[in-house]
């Protein structure tokens, strides 16, 4: 049952992509910008967990919580310092700043920790489970469950709570939301916090799946997750979820049936294809420019 194994492997990688993609999509929905630095936040998340466990010797649950909190804080601070002053400038300026932030974090960690990979703590037993003949590692299983739970909670939060409603309002029309008494700044901060927190979880899943982390890990992961977000329709949380899973499976298939050298190229091929055929993505809505 190699085929089934590949699908499940793909889904679990895809789950990680989905968690990151949700961060992109949420921030895009609210702030109408691509947070290029989101990939690096995931890297930071992985490093925090590594530090808390391997250096300070804390148990897993503590390091996960600290990592989530740290990333959320980093997300909020980034927004306040780098993006907020540019809220009314051209998308070009915002994009350049975001690239700058991404570059800053990556190189800061390169200086702090060097480019050599660090061994991520083994939070999970390395065995695997056999279901219908397919071999599933515990990590994959955990990754899938975490993705499902996080997405479910997030959707509940967005659709059922007052804060979620505020977020939806801000993404529809910032000005109108402000006039309705919604604190736009708080809402944007919260979005960055949630997106970055989910990123921390993705970073930990990455560490557990590959057991090695380095300061570059966020760059490719971030781009792939962004592609997942575009595929699902940027701005749509369920879209990001589905997009992430599709990218994960496509990648797993390429690696096992073609060659691992081309897995990145295939993912980029998907991006190019979707942008040409359906730029709004699978679940996105076409937005008309106001003239």
């Amino acid at each position: 049952m190699d085929f089934l194994t590949q699908i499940i492997n793909g889904l679990s990688t895809g789950g990680m992509y989905a968690l990151v993609a949700i961060g992109y999509t949420m921030v895009y929905g609210i702030a109408k910008m691509i947070n290029f630095a989101h990939g690096e936040i995931i890297m930071v998340g992985a490093y925090i967990a590594y530090l808390v466990t391997s250096v300070l010797g804390m148990p897993m649950i503590v390091s996960v919580l600290i990592s989530i909190a740290g990333c959320a804080l980093l997300g909020v601070v980034t927004e306040k310092i780098a993006y907020k002053p540019l809220r009314n400038s051209s998308s070009l300026a915002v994009l350049i700043t975001a690239i700058g932030v991404s570059y800053l974090l990556q190189n800061l960690f390169l200086i702090l920790f060097g480019s050599a990979a660090r061994t991520f703590p083994a939070y999970m037993p390395s065995g695997s489970l056999s279901i219908f003949g397919a071999q599933i590692t515990y990590v994959s299983l955990l990754s899938l469950c975490l993705t499902g739970i996080c997405t479910g909670l997030l959707l509940l939060f967005i659709n059922k709570t007052k804060l979620g409603k505020a977020m939806r309002a801000v993404s529809e029309d910032k000005g109108a939301a402000e006039l309705m008494g919604i604190n736009v700044n708080t809402t944007i901060s919260m979005t960055f916090a949630i997106g970055s927190g989910l990123g921390a979880i993705a970073g930990i899943i990455y560490g557990m799946s590959y057991s090695l982390i380095n300061p570059y890990l966020g760059a490719m992961l971030g781009i792939k997750a962004f592609i997942a977000a575009v595929l699902g329709g940027i701005g749509s949380v369920p879209g990001a979820m589905v997009g992430g899973l599709i990218i994960g499976v496509a990648e797993a298939f390429t690696i096992s049936y073609i060659s691992s050298a081309f897995s990145d190229a295939v993912v980029f091929g998907i991006l190019i294809f979707i942008l040409l055929v359906k730029p709004a993505g699978l679940f996105g809505k076409n937005v008309r420019e106001k003239v």
């Binding site: 998308s91 200086i111 190229a265």
Partner: protein
């Protein structure tokens, strides 16, 4: 107007000639050693890269992160032509640039319909795809790199390339075609509704930008004598972008100065080389925020006022 332009052209030509003559003299007289003349050639290559990216990002207003990809196409094509087909240096340079231009058009046609953010990611994606291809082809010798490229690039070819690049881009910018390109940056919808065929001009600017990136690649290949795909990754694209941003989007002179400074300065700051990338990042962020806060114009205005006061005191 015609007269003024011709005067300006002659003046620029003379200045370029003087700079060239002075540097050539300094090199032959041994004031600038081999090490420094090498840096001068790298500066020329970087100027070509920065000014050409400025056409796409500064004038057209489309942020592309694939400039290193176009550079690598030019580098590999011209190197392969020189090694395997023994083509003359200049011919291989031009063919390499044309190859980069064609790739630019092929990428541009489908992607330039997309606005802003997506284009940035998609050019980044293409950059990576090109790199993966270079890593996996036999003719490029994969990760081991292509070796034995005739080292034909000297200061004269570098300087000539700079002169041609700046001249061509400047001429375009100062024509109806250039105004069309700039209007797209300013407001694409309004540009379309002023009758500008925006798709055509986007691809045109993109293609010319890619052409000169390819030229720079060819120069680089024949300067280094060897090529590895890793040179042309995302970091290189960002480095070129930093030059453009530092010099000012849509400012050719700025690009030239920034490219030269960013080639020479790291040589003096060897001790801090690991902080270089960090500095680039800070430059990108600070430049954008300062622009938004109008810091530079205010400083300029302050200086202008001061100068004015000095004059009135006299």
């Amino acid at each position: 107007m015609k007269k003024k332009q011709i005067q300006q052209f002659i003046l620029s030509f003379v200045i370029a000639l003087v700079i060239y003559g002075a540097l050539m003299f300094a090199m032959s007289a041994g004031i600038l050693d081999n090490y420094w003349s090498g840096i001068l050639i790298m500066a020329c290559i970087n100027v070509v890269l920065a000014t050409s990216l400025n056409l796409a990002s500064g004038y057209l207003g489309q942020l592309t992160l694939g400039h290193a990809g176009f550079m690598s196409v030019g580098a590999y094509v011209s190197a392969i032509l020189s090694i395997y087909f023994q083509m003359p240096f200049i011919v291989s340079l031009i063919v390499g640039a044309i190859a980069a231009c064609i790739i630019g058009i092929l990428i541009g046609i489908p992607t330039l319909r997309l606005k802003g953010d997506y284009l940035c990611i998609i050019t980044l994606a293409f950059n990576e795809i090109i790199r993966v291809i270079m890593l996996n082809l036999n003719i490029t010798n994969g990760a081991k790199g292509l070796m034995g490229i005739p080292m034909n690039t000297d200061f004269t070819t570098g300087f000539m390339s700079v002169a041609v690049t700046i001249y061509v881009i400047y001429s375009i910018v100062k024509s109806r075609h250039g105004r069309a390109i700039i209007s797209i940056r300013e407001d694409e919808t309004a540009s379309e509704l002023a009758g500008i065929p925006t798709a055509y001009y986007k691809i045109l600017a993109f293609a010319i930008s890619a052409f000169f990136a390819g030229l720079a690649g060819g120069l680089y290949a024949h300067y280094m004598g060897m090529l590895v795909p890793k040179t042309f990754d995302y970091n290189k694209s960002v480095e070129i972008l930093v030059m453009v941003v530092l010099g000012g989007l849509g400012n050719l002179k700025g690009s030239v100065i920034a490219a030269i400074v960013m080639t020479i300065l790291p040589e003096y700051l060897r001790a801090f080389s690991e902080y270089r990338m960090l500095l680039y990042a800070v430059v990108l962020i600070a430049a954008m925020i300062m622009k938004e806060k109008n810091v530079m114009p205010r400083i300029k205005a302050k200086f202008a006022k001061k100068r004015h006061e000095e004059v009135s005191e006299q």
